[in-house]
């Protein structure tokens, strides 16, 4: 089970291929999440959903820099990370609807998607809860000499959890191949991060022996470039790093968070959507570089939409687990 991940050679995509692939992945996340919003609003999806819309370039830029067998840990806002790491749309939707064929047999749901085949150690509903897991996976990679790297995604809210500093310190002491990716979308739920975060985020890495960099999270190419560098650094045995990615979530903290003006202005939201949209920025760039024309992008959109629609149909049609499965999988 723990060896279900087959080591694979580093990703060989380059140039136009790579860029188009990143564009496609971002689009897939966007359309996936729009569909989640729709399912939720139509009361077809149980529980909560935290949409990744607006932040697509972060997951995609980072995960493109990873091998299939590299590890990631994710968060409550995890759909984007899972898809970027290669999860199947069908099995994701099935899990979100609590169906037996879902990634976790319906036992996990939106906040616990996990998938050994793509190195996904799991989304996590405890803020900061996966920082130890990612560091431990890096420990295994180092000890077993597999050359794998672990990426730990977390929101800037997790900067409040002391365990992050405990594990960064150990990662630095032991030179573990882990990249901590802080997604600063500026809000801990309904509270601006400046009200909860003193000092200097970028200084928090070096204080624990972890070199830090910051990057514009709406520019997938920039994210990819810096992630590539940090991942290769880790793989080369040079230890952990912290990547601070500045980004924005377009929707509410979760789907039900609709009236948001008490904590952020419509204008702020509008500005990010119109001026900083990662998919538009990348699309424009692809066209400007002659790597794709609008028609090709539209076609891509259609393909992705079809894949998403298929996933939804698949998930809606799939059966629930039978109640007698409830006490299976408690112990291995």
């Amino acid at each position: 089970m723990t060896t279900a991940v087959n080591p694979s050679k580093p990703d060989s995509r380059t140039g136009a291929d790579l860029y188009l692939h990143m564009y496609r992945r971002m689009l897939m996340i966007r359309l996936f999440e729009e569909q989640v919003n729709d399912l939720y609003t139509r009361a077809l999806m149980p529980g909560l959903a935290h949409l990744y819309i607006g932040e697509e370039a972060v997951a995609v830029g980072v995960c493109e820099a990873l091998r299939t067998d590299d590890y990631i840990t994710s968060t409550h806002r995890g759909h984007g990370h899972c898809l970027a790491k290669g999860a199947s749309v069908d099995l994701m939707f099935a899990e979100l609807l609590g169906k037996e064929v879902g990634y976790c047999k319906g036992k996990g749901g939106s906040m616990h998607i996990a998938d050994p085949a793509t190195g996904n150690l799991g989304a996590n509903a405890i803020v900061g809860g996966s920082t130890g897991i990612a560091t431990g996976a890096a420990f295994s990679a180092q000890r077993l000499g597999t050359g794998q790297v672990a990426v730990c995604f977390f929101g800037e809210g997790a900067l409040g959890q002391g365990v992050l500093y405990e594990v960064m310190n150990m990662a630095a002491l032991w030179k573990l191949p882990v990249v901590y990716v802080c997604e600063n979308n500026m809000y801990n739920e309904y509270t601006h991060f400046s009200e909860t975060t003193a000092g200097d985020i970028l200084a928090r890495g070096p204080a624990f022996g972890v070199p830090s960099e910051a990057v514009d999270g709406q520019d997938v190419r920039a994210v990819y470039d810096v992630a590539k560098k940090l991942v290769e650094r880790a793989r080369a045995g040079d230890g952990p790093s912290l990547l601070l990615v500045n980004t924005y979530r377009y929707h509410g903290h979760h789907v039900g968070d609709v009236s948001r003006e008490y904590y952020r202005s419509k204008q702020e939201e509008q500005q990010w959507k119109t001026e900083r949209d990662p998919i538009r920025i990348m699309g424009d760039w692809l066209v400007s570089q002659g790597l794709a024309d609008r028609a090709a992008l539209d076609k891509l959109h259609g393909e992705v939409k079809a894949e998403i629609d298929h996933g939804v149909q698949f998930a809606l049609a799939a059966p629930y687990p039978s109640p007698d499965k409830v006490d299976q999988d408690v112990y291995a």
Binding site: K107, G109, G129, N188, Y263, P321, V330
Partner: protein
């Protein structure tokens, strides 16, 4: 419904409103009372339980914290020791693991370790309860952990009336008190008088009188037990529903007397069924009423599995009116 309640009830409040009112009244009464937690000021907490408090009391008394449960619990301990009356908000009861060291090694023990010289009068409010489709890390009922610890008190209200009166007492208490609210009960309505009142910690309440079987239930399981009692009535079984209201201090006397009266007892609690609250309550009953019992005390808690996400799975993990009624019928038939 107690005598006081019957005499003065004029309004219906939700449980959330009752809690907010208790907090507001205590904050007006005592300037040392303040609240700290995540997203509690302008946002009024994700469950909106605290809406409006920051508007009345200001940001100095309703503090948004970083996502640092251990840290702000520790700060509350120190503030409580030095003259303030902190009320900590832990958004989901599942997160109390982060606070155990502060609550158990510091808050619970400082009075004793200092030979009675310091004390830590703080309240931790948090949630319990499943069936919200929130999966394994947002659905637990972990109150048994705190009940186990000398130096702490544990409160489990089941109605808006009790919630208000008990929370006011908890805030006035000189000790650390943990106050558990079932997140599925925030919209439950019930009578709450206009007049001020408090309910002492350590006094159980008989929510329904009966003669054939005693159902001892906590928090939202009281509502389940009352529903079961109605079902049982149709089967000709008269169920008494007893709500301990506080698990520590525990009103053993009322529990044991009811057990002696009916001779058959079910205990229902939403925590995991193994090594949980039901074990203690069942033990207290068998110790105090053994020779009056017709059958062993029946325990009903959450299934010994992490709470699953999928609705058809989650629904079978917790006691329901139906399963409690079935258990009561079996118990009565089996005698």
């Amino acid at each position: 419904m107690s005598m006081l309640e019957a005499a003065t009830a004029v309004r219906e409040l939700t449980l959330a409103q009752a809690i907010r009112e208790a907090l507001a009244e205590e904050m007006r009464r005592d300037p040392r009372v303040f609240i700290l937690g995540e997203d509690i000021a302008e946002a009024g907490h994700p469950f909106k339980v605290l809406s409006g408090l920051v508007e009345e009391f200001g940001a100095k008394r309703v503090l948004d914290t970083p996502i640092s449960e251990a840290g702000f619990t520790g700060i509350a301990v120190g503030a409580a020791m030095t003259g303030m009356r902190p009320v900590i908000d832990i958004m989901f009861g599942d997160f109390i693991g982060l606070t155990m060291d502060q609550m158990v090694n510091q808050a619970a023990k400082i009075h004793y370790m200092s030979g009675g010289k310091w004390k830590a009068p703080l309240v931790m409010r948090t949630t319990l309860g499943a069936t919200r489709r929130s999966a394994a890390q947002h659905s637990q009922s972990l109150h048994a952990w705190f009940c186990h610890i000398p130096g702490l008190k544990v409160v489990m209200p089941s109605t808006p009336y009790d919630a208000k009166g008990l929370l006011k007492s908890a805030i006035r208490d000189e000790n650390p008190v943990v106050f558990f609210e079932d997140k599925m009960m925030y919209r439950l309505k019930g009578p709450v008088p206009d007049e001020e009142y408090t309910i002492p910690l350590g006094v159980a309440d008989i929510k329904r009188e009966g003669s054939d079987v005693t159902i001892i239930a906590t928090s939202s399981m009281v509502q389940v037990a009352l529903g079961a009692a109605t079902l049982l009535e149709e089967s000709g079984i008269s169920a008494e529903v007893v709500d301990p209201r506080t698990l520590w201090p525990l009103d053993e006397k009322t529990l044991i007397e009811s057990a002696k009266k009916t001779s058959r007892v079910i205990v229902v609690d939403e925590g995991y069924g193994r090594y949980g609250v039901t074990a203690e309550l069942a033990s207290v009953i068998q110790e105090g009423a053994f020779f009056d019992l017709e059958a062993p005390v029946k325990r009903m808690g959450a299934m010994h599995v992490p709470i699953p996400f999928s609705p058809p799975l989650e629904d079978v993990t917790v006691p329901t009116e139906q399963t409690v009624a079935d258990a009561a019928r079996a118990l009565c038939g089996a005698s």
